[in-house]
């Protein structure tokens, strides 16, 4: 096609600047959101992976245990193996910093061993410092980022249990990656200071020359005590990938839906533009333009919109990313990467891919209209009124297709997740949206029949038009349907989730007061003497101590949380299913102790109530019977609960992370808090009332879903854009009709009302279908997508009033937007407009 002809098509974009701009914006938003999610998460993951690799250094294999570590004697065993050339023991703690809201990771290393394996953990004594500082019990070496945290101080305090130790900063960790905040100490010093005598968290191994990694791994596997893994350093970055995969995939899918909505918008504006220019095209064809050229011309319009929108999206996406790094960090509010300070990396491949997506959305949106324009017979198209015929065509009933889509959707919902991703669920959502758009004409007719009341002329005119030309509803309503479906499904899912979380919180937080020395991953804890002291306080009626640990149950997955507390036979848990009572007199004569597992483990380990589960406890495997399944929204990687008395017996570990305190009178909470603070030190413990924890948890919940609320708003905006663009274009095409009405004595204001009715009716049909589709999508999100990505169930809760209000305002907004958008067309004089048609 020559340049002049291409210019002809491109110029048409400028003839409808409003519609073009909206399509462009929609594409830009879709591209920007998708890109931002990808960039932010990619950067964070990348950073995490790199730091994991750096910390692993030159290790060929890593032996890793749970948070509490494993018996250090394994080091002596491994160091003497002939396969092993260098072994470096590491003990890792999250040291609580009293009075600060963050902890500091400290690696305890054997300075003589670490130099052979992990350059990133090699301490360097400050100029002029004591030469033996690397071996001292009270010295710490900080990375640049960690030292920056200490504001130039030469020493700082760390907490172990409820005691505080002072550490002197004696030097740096020059091998650390920029931005990584951690400290390095002597291994003996960490074991002693943090009460981890005899424990190691990790042993990094370098293999003797000629020893194959996989063979050595298999050989050494037999030496591993229960709960200790031996793996390649790459596996640890795989672990964090697994941790955040679900979240990342879900966000990317949301971005894809935004892009899809943008594509719909292009479709509707492009279609209407084609309809309006029908005669123009006919003239071009009559003048000798080839069918293919016409097709290409319309596609170029869509593609160009996609290109410009995509470019704008790239800029916007990077802007959003930078802003997100500044404001909320690299985890989009999900809390996975709090220690990571990622940097924006501009990748040409990713940019090209998202730009291509934008163009694709534009071209795909223009495809059907272009094909239609090219097919039209010039002679027929030149005649007036033919535009209506095309719209009519779109409105054909497609019940078999709708049924097919829905059945297929039901089928793919049954698929298991592929690579931990609920592919079937997302496919089903796409199919449901597709069915919703296809069913729209039929529904419009149904809606019109449903609204068979009122005798106003305009009202009847509007209804008549819509039932006669339901295609108009498709074009105007497709955007509304998708955006409403998206918004409704999100609303239903989030509200179900929130209500379920709220219920869950009240079940897991029954006590009046909660006390802890630090988060369970950190080094603060309470011991038996502290517990005894607390239970002796006047006003305290009972204590429920809780010990949280981690266990390595599943290879290649992050550790599972072990909770040891008094469970009262499971009564105190938010159970979703329980095992049938065990038959008396089991064959082995010995009843296994009970374990309650979270839903995640049901999916990951294929467990069910009544089955046996072995847990690595106290250095050996201990058999348990799954007594029930409980709902856990806090620990995505899975959690098991056992009775604390059994835990004590098996491990002799009497430390406690959290204590739930029941008071004789809830009014005593403040008094007891004061007593606790003065006993243990205000900055060494955290005390929270039930309602405080609950409020905090819900606040975190809302923050996590902030991005989904944002995307919902965007989707609704796009939907409204769709209505406006459609009516603007339709009105232009219907100038003749409006002129005729004017000629018959209908006033301009009344025509505006007619359009408002039509807009409202169209939106009503769209909202109705959208609501239904949204309900279906919500069900898929809750039962398939969430279940497969996060492994948790929730009770469905539909926010009826909110949705009704939302639907109503969508209809009203559409009714307002439609005449506004059509205003331009109505302004024309009646005579001139009627003339045009003759």
């Amino acid at each position: 096609m020559n340049r002049k002809l291409a210019g002809l098509f491109i110029a048409s974009l400028f003839h409808r600047p409003f519609a073009s701009l909206l399509s462009l914006l929609a594409i830009a938003l879709g591209v920007a959101l998708g890109l931002a999610v990808q960039l932010i998460h990619g950067a964070a993951l990348d950073e995490f992976g790199r730091s994991a690799r750096e910390l692993a250094g030159e290790a060929d294999l890593q032996v890793v245990g749970s948070r509490e570590g494993f018996d250090e004697s394994l080091y002596w065993v491994l160091a003497q193996r002939k396969e092993v050339s260098e072994a470096s023991p590491v003990i890792e703690v999250e040291a609580r910093l009293p009075g600060r809201d963050r902890s500091l990771r400290i690696y305890g290393v054997d300075v003589f061993r670490v130099v052979h394996v992990q350059a990133a953990l090699v301490p360097q004594i400050d100029e002029g410092g004591d030469r033996l500082a690397t071996l001292d019990r009270d010295t710490v070496f900080l990375t640049a980022a960690a030292r920056a945290m200490m504001d130039g101080r030469e020493a700082f305090e760390v907490q172990s249990g409820v005691n505080v130790h002072t550490l002197r900063i004696a030097g740096a960790v020059p091998g650390a990656m920029a931005g990584q905040a951690y400290g390095v100490m002597d291994i003996a010093a960490v074991q002693q200071t943090f009460d981890h005598l005899g424990r190691l968290s990790r042993i990094d191994l370098r293999l003797a020359p000629g020893v194959r990694r996989e063979e050595a791994r298999v050989t050494l596997l037999d030496l591993m005590p229960p709960g200790v893994e031996i793996r390649t350093p790459e596996a640890s970055s795989g672990e964090i990938m697994a941790l955040s995969r679900a979240y990342r995939v879900n966000l990317t899918m949301l971005a894809a839906i935004a892009l899809l909505t943008g594509g719909f918008l292009i479709f509707s504006t492009q279609w209407l533009s084609v309809v309006r220019r029908r005669r123009e095209f006919a003239v071009l064809r009559a003048l000798g333009m080839a069918r293919a050229d016409l097709l290409r011309g319309v596609l170029i319009e869509g593609g160009l919109t996609g290109l410009v929108g995509g470019l704008l999206g790239l800029v916007l996406g990077h802007g959003v990313t930078v802003l997100a790094f500044e404001l909320i960090g690299g985890d989009l509010g999900a809390g996975y990467f709090t220690d990571i300070r990622p940097e924006l990396v501009i990748s040409p491949a990713v940019n090209a891919a998202y730009l291509a997506l934008g163009i694709l959305a534009g071209v795909a949106g223009a495809w059907l209209p272009a094909r239609d324009a090219a097919r039209a017979q010039p002679a027929v198209a030149l005649k007036a009124g033919s535009a209506e015929g095309v719209v009519q065509q779109i409105g054909r009933g497609r019940s078999p297709a709708v049924l097919g889509c829905l059945m297929l959707a039901a089928l793919v919902c049954q698929l298991p997740p592929i690579a931990w991703t609920p592919v079937g669920g997302y496919l089903a959502i796409a199919l449901v949206l597709c069915a919703a758009v296809l069913v729209l004409p039929g529904c419009t007719r149904f809606a019109v029949r449903l609204l068979d009341f009122g005798r106003g002329v305009l009202w009847r005119l509007a209804r008549g038009r819509l039932s006669a030309i339901p295609g108009q509803a498709v074009v105007a309503g497709a955007g509304v349907v998708t955006s409403v479906a998206l918004a409704v499904s999100m609303a239903v899912m989030v509200s179900s989730f929130r209500v379920s979380v709220d219920d869950w919180l009240s079940k897991v937080l029954p006590a009046d007061l909660y006390l802890r020395a630090s988060a369970s991953s950190s080094t603060g804890y309470l011991d038996a003497s502290a517990l005894a002291w607390i239970s002796g306080l006047p006003g305290v009626s009972s204590l429920t101590p809780l010990r949280a640990q981690t266990l390595r149950l599943i290879d290649g997955r992050p550790p599972v949380t072990l909770i040891a507390r008094d469970v009262e036979g499971g009564v105190a848990l938010p159970l979703v299913s329980v095992a049938a009572p065990e038959k008396g007199g089991a064959a082995d004569g010995e009843a296994l102790p009970s374990v309650w597992i979270s839903e995640t483990l049901v999916d990951l380990l294929g467990l069910a109530p009544g089955m046996r589960l072995d847990l690595p406890l106290g250095g050996s495997r201990v058999g348990f019977r799954v007594a029930g399944v409980w709902r856990d929204y806090a620990r995505q990687n899975g959690a098991v609960i056992i009775e604390r008395s059994i835990y004590l017996e098996l491990t002799r570990d009497d430390r406690v992370n959290d204590v739930a305190i029941e008071l004789t009178d809830p009014g005593l909470a403040d008094e007891i808090s004061v007593a606790l603070r003065s006993r243990f030190g205000a900055d060494r413990i955290e005390i929270a009332r039930r309602d405080e924890i609950r409020a905090l948890s819900l606040a975190i919940f809302d923050r996590t879903f902030l991005i989904t609320y944002l995307m919902e708003a965007v989707a609704i905006l796009i939907g409204l854009f769709g209505v406006a663009a459609t009516f603007a274009a339709l009105a232009t095409a219907r100038r003749g009709e409006f002129a005729l009405l004017r000629h018959l004595g209908v006033r301009r204001r009344e025509i505006a009302r007619l359009i408002a009715f039509e807009g409202g009716l169209t939106a009503f049909a769209g909202v109705m279908v959208g609501m239904l589709a949204g309900g279906a999508v919500a069900w898929i999100l809750i039962e398939v997508v969430n279940r497969q990505s996060f492994h948790w169930s929730m009770d469905v809760h539909v926010p009826t009033l909110g949705l009704a209000l939302f639907g109503l305002s969508m209809v009203l907004l559409a009714a307002c937007v439609a005449p506004l958008a059509a205003a331009n067309a109505m302004r024309q004089s009646a005579v001139q407009a009627v003339k045009e048609d003759w």
Partner: protein, 423 residues
């Protein structure tokens, strides 16, 4: 350097022992940390030997450094003091003395392979108690450190092959015996093995990748106690001293591997065992020491502490004759005189590679005028990567100063020529 290169060179380095290095990375990583510790040993050694005649000049308080209130006490959290009149008792005193601050077993010698090729070797194991305080209850507690150096002087290479290691005491990985000489630093060992009731010997196995040795050392005489019955003073202050004995004329046999070349070797070696606690004044620049196996079956040990401009601050020596008689030389009786210099192309340090050594004539069978000549000039040991020190440690011949006749072979050690040891 790219990451891959860096990893490869590191790997190569660690596999290949500590010599075969692409220096840059290694230097950074290694020096950064281990070095600091070994430096401590080295400095302790140096301080121990770098005796202060200057102690006379310094105010007494400065000699003991900051340890004035601890060194003299016998508290459990203090280092014991080296005292005159303590009788050494063997074999117990062949073993370790973990209460003292530093201790080393130092074996040097000349080896002949079956082709008649001559090489020198050195194997040193150090034990350090880094802090006098109780190290704590952890099994990893760094209460004792073990370090080792090994080097081969082969004229074919024209320079030293050198390797080193350091670890904390972590039995059985890194272990040390109390009843007799027995030191294990991962797979590097030096230990006494009793063959039968009468005979026995030391055996040392070192595999540094680039070179390896497995040598047995059979003593032919009783240990030679240096100084006053093993109490070896290093300065006018009697507290500045060590327990020190030597074992000259060790019959040596075993195998030596350099690169891929295996050699069956025989020769004569010398073992020094010394332990002490004292921190000595810093105002010496370095020292010169020789330990020579004489062809007549005797042994000669002599050292001088040097101050600024090469001035001798303290000297001493022991001549053990094949007859079993022994001459001990006190301060001022031994004199070291430089004859020829060699400048290191790597560090620019200028060493005295030929010495004239004067010993007193008190009816011994050695001439009073002796010459020390090196097996090769370049026996400089650049351990800036590890101990931070540059020194010269090499095989030498002892000749009659007048006739030029070879009287014996042994080792010469010179420190403090490149730079003053970094304190």
């Amino acid at each position: 350097m790219s990451t891959t290169n860096r990893e490869m060179s590191l790997r190569h380095t660690f596999w290949g022992g500590l010599c075969s290095i692409d220096g840059t990375v290694y230097k950074d990583v290694w020096k950064r940390m281990c070095g600091t510790l070994r430096n401590e040993v080295f400095v302790a050694l140096w301080r121990l030997l770098a005796v202060g005649v200057l102690g006379l000049v310094s105010p007494p308080g400065a000699i003991a450094g900051g340890a004035t209130d601890e060194t003299s006490s016998t508290r459990a959290d203090a280092y014991p003091e080296v005292m005159k009149g303590i009788e050494l008792s063997f074999p117990r005193d062949h073993g370790a003395h973990p209460d003292f601050r530093t201790e080393w077993w130092y074996v040097t010698g000349w080896l002949n392979d079956t082709d008649g090729h001559e090489r020198g070797f050195q194997v040193t194991f150090f034990r350090v108690r880094p802090r006098p305080e109780n190290p704590g209850a952890s099994r990893f507690a760094p209460g004792q450190l073990i370090l080792a150096h090994a080097a081969i002087a082969d004229p074919k290479y024209g320079r030293l092959l050198h390797a080193e290691r350091s670890e904390r005491l972590l039995p059985p990985l890194n272990d040390i015996g109390l009843d007799h000489t027995k030191i294990k630093l991962r797979d590097w060992t030096l230990a006494w093995t009793q063959v039968d009731g009468v005979t026995g010997g030391y055996r040392s196995q070192i595999d540094a990748g680039e070179f390896a040795l497995d040598l047995s050392f059979i003593p032919q005489s009783q240990p030679v106690l240096n100084g006053a019955e093993g109490y070896s003073r290093k300065a006018p202050d009697p507290k500045l001293a060590s327990y020190y004995y030597s074992r000259p004329q060790l019959l040596t046999h075993g195998s030596l591997r350099i690169g891929a070349g295996e050699h069956v070797v025989r020769g004569l070696a010398w073992l020094d065992h010394e332990w002490s606690s004292e921190i000595l004044p810093q105002n010496a620049r370095g020292w010169d020491w020789i330990g020579i196996n004489l062809h007549d079956g005797g042994g000669l040990m002599a050292f001088q502490m040097r101050g600024e401009e090469g001035k001798a601050l303290w000297t001493a020596g022991t001549h053990a004759m094949a007859t079993g008689q022994q001459q001990t030389f006190g301060p001022g009786e031994v004199r070291f005189e430089p004859l020829r210099y060699w400048q290191s192309p790597r560090t620019g340090a200028r060493y005295v590679v030929e010495w004239r050594v004067h010993i007193p004539q008190r009816g011994g069978n050695l001439p009073g005028d002796l010459r020390v000549e090196p097996l090769m000039d370049d026996q400089e040991l650049d351990s800036r990567r590890s101990t931070g020190a540059i020194y010269w440690e090499g095989a030498v011949r002892l000749k009659d100063g007048n006739t030029g006749a070879e009287l014996g072979r042994g080792y010469l050690e010179m420190t403090g020529y490149s730079q003053r040891l970094d304190m």
